[in-house]
């Protein structure tokens, strides 16, 4: 499609079309992410409400109160934007966008359906992990530059937590990468096509366990409750976000949800078959590239919807956990990582390796 688009103009001007193409892709990806943020904002409130035996937002308007998210957005945009005098003005302003950018950047390697990645990269899984790791810089920077001790503590906690949890999280990614033999997320997704028992989570018992460790580490990596040490509103007021207001606060908020989307997307590709449904129905109704490219495109659309659905389910689980569980203490979070998650993933890594040696193919 890109080739066709670029070749619409004479060769000397093709770079213009390439640029346009790149911008369009970027806008689509960011739009999906931002739309997700709006939806998750609403969903989080609804889940919180239902968990707490109340209705959740319904007064602002719209069916099921969906206007709550736009109303929130408008409110945040209208709020006064404060920079404390104690803060480092440049870094303070930079911080929220750094985290947000890092979270958005990961999208360009995540395939939404077969071949539907903004950029197909060979080491996509690794790259996603690496860029996602950058996410924490926004948090740390906010903590260091705010000139508030709560922020400083929050930033330090976030840094320590991220550095620790990247290890088991990386291990959790390495295990499926090892099992599928590639770091290309597209290839990994493709390898899980067919019935749901082809999914990574069912590939072997070790992968099954790894998925749940991954979910825990992903929650911790996103700084979500019960691991939201950086925010910890009952201890640090709002942690690294204490001094933020208005749109910059919203940027942190968006960054958090975007990184949740990304990491759940990664999880769903690595473990839950990505865009492949539990049953290979697209094959049955000939929605396949082999029959016709257009049908393949429709099939991919269905796959992308399935992929998003999986992300939504994973995120709903994260929200469910957030509204059900108390927060761990900071040392307990570290204990959780170093004494439980890491040894378990290491054992799973070993197990998966032995499994593959024992049952090749």
């Amino acid at each position: 499609m890109k080739t066709w688009f670029v070749e619409l103009v004479p060769p000397g001007w093709q770079w213009v079309m390439e640029t346009i193409w790149a911008v369009v892709i970027a806008v689509i990806v960011i739009a999906i992410a931002l739309l997700s943020v709006a939806i998750f904002n609403w969903l989080e409130r609804k889940i919180a409400g239902r968990t707490q035996d109340r209705l959740g937002p319904h007064r602002v308007g719209g069916r099921f109160g969906w206007l709550q998210s736009p109303a929130d957005g408008i409110k945040l945009l209208c709020k006064e934007d404060l920079v404390p005098t104690e803060a480092d003005p440049i870094l303070f302003r930079l911080a929220p966008y750094l985290g947000l950018t890092a979270a958005f950047t990961v999208f360009f390697v995540v395939p939404f359906a077969d071949g539907w990645a903004a950029q197909q990269v060979n080491s996509a899984a690794f790259m996603a992990l690496a860029i996602l790791g950058m996410d924490v810089f926004g948090t740390v920077l906010a903590g260091l530059s705010s000139g508030s001790k709560y922020s400083l503590l929050g930033g330090m906690r976030a840094a320590a937590q991220m550095v620790s949890y990247e290890v088991p999280l990386g291990m959790c990614v390495v295990i499926p990468v090892m099992c599928f033999g590639t770091m290309d997320l597209n290839v990994i997704g493709e390898a899980q096509s067919g019935w749901f028992w082809h999914w990574g989570i069912f590939a072997n018992p070790f992968m099954f366990v790894t998925f749940f460790v991954f979910l825990v580490c992903a929650t911790a990596g996103c700084n979500r409750a019960p691991f939201d040490m950086a925010e910890a509103e009952s201890e640090l007021v709002a942690g690294f976000m204490t001094e933020y207001s208005g749109f910059r606060w919203a940027a942190f908020f968006m960054g958090e949800y975007t990184s949740m989307v990304v990491i759940c997307g990664l999880g769903s590709i690595l473990f839950l078959g990505g865009w492949n449904g539990p049953i290979p129905w697209t094959e049955w109704v000939w929605l396949s590239e082999h029959v016709h490219p257009a049908l393949g495109w429709i099939g991919n659309c269905c796959g992308a919807i399935g992929f998003l659905a999986k992300i939504y389910i994973l995120i709903a689980i994260m929200m469910w956990a957030r509204w059900s569980l108390p927060r761990l203490r900071v040392d307990q979070v570290m204990t959780m990582c170093l004494k439980y998650c890491f040894p378990i993933t290491a054992a799973m890594f070993l197990g998966a390796m032995l499994w593959m040696a024992a049952f090749p193919g």
């Binding site: 060979n122 330090m156 290839v187």
Partner: protein, 260 residues
């Protein structure tokens, strides 16, 4: 002049500017962030060069390492996140000496090493290495995959080599797909960092290679281990400096408290 060049210039300028800025900054937080900026820009250059794996590695290891540096810096110096740091003249000279000697070593080593030949890295090299194959990738499993299938019998599998094989299996289709900016380099680079140059291994199809440097082919064992280690030493030096900084600060503070 195309986008690639523009981005290269942006990345290169950002890397250098951030590095210089970091050296001359007195604010710890800004120093750390400029370091991240510099290393991140280098990662961008790697991405532009098509070395996606090394780029990601750069982000993961160095940028992640900087995070640890920040934690150490803030927690150990206790001058506050925004406290100024001023090096004494002697320290500055020592730092320049250590830094420049390491840089010199790095330059020498990288001058000695031959460049990686991306094309030859995957020519036919993995075929001899063996490995088990997950038969089919759907439509991806074409002739190359089948050929590796036939030869593969091995008890222990190096994960990196395996990955390289599987990517190589899709090589055909990727070559055809000109939209891909990133040729499969991860496996070869990973092996090279560990000391194995797949592009110079015996059995490489030399017709596809440029064979620019004959010496490379004679010493297949020398990978990028040495420069990798030199950079690691650099990081250790930085960490030691952080610890020293913290210690020096503490002694001064104790003196103060005794006088008070």
């Amino acid at each position: 002049m195309n986008w690639h060049t523009i981005f290269f210039l942006i990345g290169a300028f950002a890397a250098c500017a951030a590095a210089v800025g970091m050296v001359f900054s007195r604010n710890m937080t800004r120093m750390a962030m400029l370091l991240v900026g510099s290393l991140g820009s280098v990662a961008l250059l790697f991405f532009l060069a098509g070395a996606d794996f090394v780029g990601a590695l750069q982000l993961m290891v160095y940028v992640g390492g900087t995070l640890v540096l920040i934690i150490f810096g803030v927690m150990m110096t206790a001058s506050g996140a925004r406290g100024g740091l001023a090096a004494r003249c002697m320290n500055g000279m020592l730092a320049t000496l250590a830094g420049s000697s390491l840089l010199l070593l790095l330059l020498i080593v990288s001058g000695v090493l031959c460049p990686m030949n991306i094309d030859s890295a995957y020519c036919e090299a993995p075929v001899g290495c063996g490995g088990c194959e997950r038969g089919d990738f759907g439509e991806g499993g074409d002739s190359a995959a089948n050929s590796t299938n036939g030869t593969a019998v091995a008890s222990t599998v190096d994960a990196e080599t395996r990955a390289a094989q599987l990517v190589a299996a899709k090589r055909e289709s990727m070559r055809e797909n000109s939209e891909k900016p990133f040729p499969p380099t991860s496996g070869a680079l990973g092996s090279a960092l560990a000391g194995v140059r797949t592009d110079t291994l015996a059995g490489v199809d030399h017709e596809h290679c440029d064979a620019a440097d004959e010496t490379c082919h004679h010493t297949p064992g020398t990978g990028y281990m040495l420069p990798f280690e030199i950079v690691s030493v650099h990081l250790v030096v930085v960490l030691l400096a952080a610890a020293y900084l913290a210690r020096a600060k503490k002694v001064r503070a104790e003196k103060q408290s005794t006088t008070v």
